[in-house]
């Protein structure tokens, strides 16, 4: 199995642990990642100029197509934006013509059918839970995990096609594979507040706080994320703005799975998480 790896803008510079953990588990699971130089997916500029945002995504997709493998991104905001681009480029002839006229100058072309996958989809749907399960050597027993879905991969379902938007199971299934227990928490599908961080910190923080308290009440040992922005929000931003909130650490999904696959915590960038997770007896590390 082979994927074009699209880490987006933030992972290499701001969350290298996500990169390390992702590469770690993919290596352990025997999936190849192809690196290449990409531009931004355009998600941040969507507020300002939808077409510029979709052009950015289209260029990424066209580059991936040139390499000739499906694209995999660990970031849910990148995933969402890339899927929006596919949707709109497929729907809107004017947009498609304009975008391809620009891409043509670089001998690139957007065409329908380029597969965009999020890390979780690759694991559950492409590789399969059974294959992941057989690779687990160190089940993370007795850990209670609150799976944080992340908005931009999940909604709007008709565009992003991630899972059932009302009752998704992909994340819980993947947590179960590691041996940990997924807790049921009412706000699991809600927003972490990250998109408003630079814009309105009061609301952003309020949304985050609600989720943390909710996860705490559900008895979670950790919040598990699968998105660059969510992790940044629940880890670094949380530490700076909500020092008194329940001390639930945020762990990236590939870090959790990596431990179950027997990868050393350092190889997963666990030490780079700002809020360290100190596991109880049952779990490693």
């Amino acid at each position: 199995m082979k994927y074009v790896y699209f880490p987006g803008c933030k992972i290499p510079a701001w969350l290298p642990a996500y990169d390390r953990a992702t590469r770690g588990i993919f290596k352990a699971l025997g999936i190849d990642l192809v690196d290449s130089e990409f531009n931004c997916c355009g998600y941040p500029v969507r507020h300002q100029h939808l077409e510029a945002s979709l052009l950015s995504s289209a260029r990424v997709l066209a580059l991936a197509d040139q390499i000739g493998a499906p694209l995999m991104t660990p970031c849910q905001c990148c995933y969402g934006n890339l899927r929006h681009a596919q949707y709109w480029l497929g729907e809107n002839r004017v947009l498609r013509r304009r975008v391809n006229a620009i891409l043509r100058k670089e001998n690139l072309r957007w065409k329908p059918g380029i597969r965009v996958r999020h890390l979780l989809q690759v694991l559950k749907e492409d590789l399969g839970l059974a294959a992941v399960a057989t690779a687990v050597v160190h089940p993370q027993k007795d850990i209670r995990v609150a799976a944080h879905y992340g908005c931009h991969a999940l909604r709007p379902a008709n565009i992003v096609g991630f899972d059932d938007p009302q009752a998704p199971t992909i994340f819980e299934d993947l947590i179960a594979v590691t041996g940990a227990t997924a807790v049921d928490w009412p706000l699991r599908l809600n927003c972490c507040g990250a998109p408003l961080w630079e814009k309105n910190r009061v609301i952003s923080t309020r949304l985050m706080q609600k989720k943390i308290e909710d996860a705490d009440q559900a008895g979670a040992d950790m919040i598990c994320t699968a998105c660059t922005y969510c992790q940044h929000q629940f880890d670094q931003v949380r530490l700076e703005t909500l020092p008194h909130a329940p001390p639930i650490p945020a762990v990236l999904y590939p870090q959790l799975l990596g431990l179950a696959l027997g990868i050393a915590p350092a190889g997963l960038g666990m030490n780079e998480n700002r809020i360290q997770w100190t596991p109880t007896e049952g779990g490693t590390p």
């Binding site: 510079a13 931004c40 941040p44 507020h47 260029r59 947009l95 709007p156 814009k199």
Partner: protein
Amino acid sequence: MIFTISLYLALGICVAGILFRTQRWVTLRIGPETDTLTVGARITAATGQTIRALVSRRVFKLIGIFITDVLLQLNILHQSFWRWIMHICLFYGMILLILMHALDDPLTRTFFPDYESTLNPFLWLRDLFGLMVLAGAGIAMIRRVAGHRLRQMTRAMDTFTLFFIGMVIVSGMMLEAVQIVSEPIFNEMVDEYLDEDDEEILAPLRAYWASQYGVVFENPVDTDDPAVLAEGYETHDEYCISCHSRPVSAFMSYPVARFIRPVARRFNRIRMDTWLWYIHFLSAFAALAWLPFGKFFHLIATPVNLLICGSRTTDTVSPAQLANRRALGLDACTHCGICSLHCKVAPIQLLIDNITILPSEKLAGFARHVRHRHGSEAEAALLAEGSFICTDCGRCTEVCPSGIDLKDIWQASKQDLRRQGFTEAHHWIMKKPAHEWAHLASERSVASGPSFKKTFPAIHLTDRPETFRGCIQCTICTTVCPVVEAADDPARELDLTPQQIMNLLRLQMADDALGARMVWNCVTCYMCQEHCPQGVRVADVLYELRNIAYRRFYPDTVHHLDSQSISHRPKEEAPEAAP
């Protein structure tokens, strides 16, 4: 006389300019951390750092960087082979010309006592170095014209710099060519070294020089008689040969000399060599005087920056060092454009017509901005627009061959722009209530932001009745919205709820929603859109409203909003997020 005066004048300007520019490295303030630093503290930090580096083991590292990045310029080779060839040609061609040719008296003659500018190897070396410079400038020109992206980034400064270099080299080559054919110079040399008026001796010498050295005489000289030439050679051998190699070695100027033979007599009569000499040395001195003020200054700033940033170790950088580094970084940019070729948001610039989205242009714009040299606040607002589109991905820092820590500069510059009132839309939109935006919008029905191409967006939802036709005002979108839920008093804090916005749009009153705080505080969670029983694209519509507000208001209106909050003094509080 003119030569000496202009030389010292140019040197004076050059030294003063260098002092002026280098003092900025410890006085310019970039970023909030630098507000309280005194110049004294920054000078102390700079000297302390230098001394520590020179007396510790780090000096070996510095030597290493000097060899790889300054002398061999492997950092450029890493980017592109042709770019490297270009820069090596320009750099070494110029440096060697300056050392061997411009400084021949104080330098070359010291190391080579037999030095004569008309003697090999110096004669052909000079032409070789000249050729290198011309080749480098030629490659640079071709790259800038042929590469679409580079052409777009090329500024007057780049063209002017190449023109300046070309002027010095071409005038030098022309001068040499005219000197080769010059009879007056021949006569002067004869007067000086032979002191002989005997035609019996001079005529054969003339014949020999006309045939072998390309001198063109006013009265035709017979160069066909071998006996005469042999006679000429005897005199030549005695007096001239020790200082004169044959000019064919000047492989660049000699062909020019051949080429101008038909007009050589006229040139000799008007002493073209003197004119060209003036042009040559004056343009060279002008370049010298201009060095600190234009692109040439990177000759000094870039190596310094490479050494300082390259020697970056794990030690934490003190605020004073950081401040100096940022100011130096602005000068170290060679405007090579490599960062912009790799910038992750560069494709956005194809649709948002704002060149400061590209890092090389953003850096130049910011440098002007901090030196208080911006033409207008609208220009600063454009710079802010470009700056906030940057995603801080750090790619430009990785590729910059001058070793500038751009990532750090962007963070500082964004903070400075913010506290000067040039903020992201989410902040400036809060400065007016929704109804005032509605009023402003009614006055400008079309896109007015200077950075927007005037094409109509391919995707447009808000102006289509079918987008809202299904809405039954059931308020589900409002009920599921986490932002509405998080507000204590939604009517006061958010102006409108999602459902009310959909209603306004149904009534074709989009202008009234443009400045509503609900639109700008939407967290883009898509809960509303997912739950709407009628399939209304609520969240997409809110996105579009923000897009429309940008098109209409940004950035030319930003600086009119609140003139008091906008100034070039970075002393004010950062605008806090709206409640």
